[in-house]
Structure formats: C-alpha cells, structure tokens
C-alpha cells in the first residue's frame, strides 16, 4: 500500500503538469491567433492607406509577386495593378471598414470584409459598399497577399 501512494502521487503530479502544459499551450495558441489577426487587420489598414495615397512602393510590399486581383474590370496581376495605381484614373478619397474577419489556416490566412468607400474612376462615381476577400500566405516570416477580389454590393 505504501508503494502505491507515491505512484498515485506521481501520476497526479504528471496529470497536473500535462494539464497545465495543455492549458498553457492553448492559451498561447489563442494569443498567437489573436496576434496574427491583429497583424493582418493592420496590414489591411496599411493597404487602404497605400491605395488612398497611390503609394505603389508601400502596396508593392504587401503583395506577393504572384498576386492576382479579380474585380468588376476583370483580372489583374501585381505589375498591372501597381502601374494602374500610378497612371490610372482611380481615385480613392476615403475608405471605412465596416466588417473584417480573419481566418488563419496555418501559413494561409483568409481575410474578408465589407467597406464603404468614396471613390471615382475616370471621373465616374464608384462610391458605395464593397465586399472583399484577401488571401495571404506567410513567406519568410512576412504575410503577403496572393489573391484578392472585390465585389460592389448592389441592392436586391
């Protein structure tokens, strides 16, 4: 019986330690996910600022070289998009994020949202609500967008 007590105690200590470890890792995972979410939301705000200021250099740092954009005007690659930012007739006056949701799947993150923007294209008013999805991949420690899509919201 005496020999059973230390064994039981050892088992209890082991279970307790394992439980604390799991709890700690779970808390760490939650904190990490939350940190990643904040980081990606911050990137979305930087992106909006770069669009507003037509800052192709800042935007270029957020987009992977194999980035693809899909929108009402069709499909663009990174080079076409950055060239269009400098020379195109798009003008973004303001942008307000209404919703933003981040889903992290390992080295991939899907960020979806809804925004209200005040904008013109070739002088034509393109203001309104837009729904969008940005897919990011983590490469060499940095999140880079690899795919983006915008859809203007219309009333039924």
């Amino acid at each position: 019986m005496k020999r059973c007590v230390p064994a039981f105690l050892l088992l209890a200590v082991a279970v307790s330690l394992a439980s604390a470890q799991v709890h700690s890792e779970s808390k760490k995972a939650t904190a990490n996910t939350s940190g990643v979410e904040e980081e990606l939301k911050q990137l979305e705000h930087q992106w909006a600022d770069a669009d507003k200021n037509k800052d192709a250099h800042a935007l270029g740092q957020l987009l992977a070289d194999d980035w693809t954009f899909l929108g009402p005007a069709g499909v663009e690659n990174k080079a076409q998009h950055l060239a269009g930012l400098k020379t195109g007739g798009d003008k973004l006056e303001s942008i307000t994020f209404i919703e933003m949701k981040v889903r992290v799947l390992g080295n991939i993150a899907i960020v979806t949202g809804r925004e209200h923007e005040k904008s013109t294209n070739q002088g034509k008013d393109t203001s309104g609500d837009y729904l969008w999805t940005d897919v990011f991949v983590k490469r060499q420690g940095h999140w880079l967008a690899i795919n983006s899509q915008d859809t203007p919201v219309t009333t039924k």
């Binding site: 899909l70 009402p72 889903r103 795919n147 899509q149 859809t151 219309t154």
Partner: protein, 156 residues
C-alpha cells in the same frame, strides 16, 4: 553509428515531409500539380452542375461547414446558401466555367476562374460574365471550399 544513422534518417524524413508541405503553386508543373488542376477543374464543374440542378447533397459535400460566400447581395453561410437554393434563390439556367487557375499552398488551394451565367432567380441575380475565387482546404483527406466570392464584370 547506429544512432547517427537513425538521426540522419529522421532528419531526411522531416525534410522530405516539410518539402511536401511547401507551396506547389508556381513551380514547374509536376504530375501532382497537373492532377490537382484536373481534380479542381472537375470539382468546380461538379459544383456548377449541383448549383444548376439544386443538388444540395453534392453541395453539402463540397462546402465546409464554415464556408462563407460573398457576392453582390451580401454574404451567406453554408446553411443560408443551401436553404436559399431550396427555396428558389438560385435558379441558374446555365453556367459555363472557363480560365480555371489552381494554386496550391500545402493543404490550401486558391482556385480562380470566369463564368458565363444566366440566372432567373427570385433574388434577381444578374446574368453575365463573372470572375470568381474559391478557397479550398484539405481536411481529413478531402478538399472542401471555405470561402467563395464572385463578381459581375462591368463590361457586360
């Protein structure tokens, strides 16, 4: 020596596994990439056919439970989308997919393309030429869509 060999073997297995997890999107077209391209092309056409035939059983298999759709009328969850389809929200006369491009990042795939649609549903979804993105995740050996967005092109 045996220990060294065991360590070397373990390292080789780890490196090989890590290499297998790497992005497979923009390297040379390997047989794996080609078969994934074919598999996703088939899956997308199966999805279009299920939409057309209102086959909610097939859609239930293709869409992950946390799937989100973003379109001109707003966002939908899987449950909302399937219910909408059953109640006449997705009367699709035809849909022809084209330009399907697949990029695989480990257990995530980003599939983009265009679609010619003729809709006659109660939501007055516009007919015309669309661009779309579907993001798939491999879970328990099965690829399921977790995010989808489509955009009507403005040059219609």
């Amino acid at each position: 020596m045996r220990q060294t060999l065991a360590v070397a073997l373990f390292a080789a297995i780890v490196i090989s596994f890590a290499a297998g997890q790497q992005e497979n999107s923009h390297g040379k077209a390997s047989s794996g990439t080609t078969s994934l391209q074919q598999m996703f092309t088939k899956l997308e056409n199966e999805w279009a056919k299920a939409d057309n035939g209102k086959d909610t059983a097939v859609l239930d298999r293709i869409l992950a439970d946390d799937w989100i759709y973003l379109g001109a009328h707003g966002t939908q969850t899987k449950a909302q989308h399937l219910a909408d389809l059953k109640s006449g929200g997705g009367d699709l006369e035809f849909e022809t997919l084209a330009d399907i491009k697949v990029r695989v990042f480990g257990d995530t795939a980003v599939v983009t393309g265009t679609a010619e649609q003729k809709n006659s549903d109660k939501n007055n979804t516009a007919s015309g030429h669309y661009v779309w993105t579907d993001v798939f995740v491999k879970r328990h050996g099965q690829w399921q869509a977790v995010n989808s967005q489509d955009t009507l092109m403005s040059q219609n």
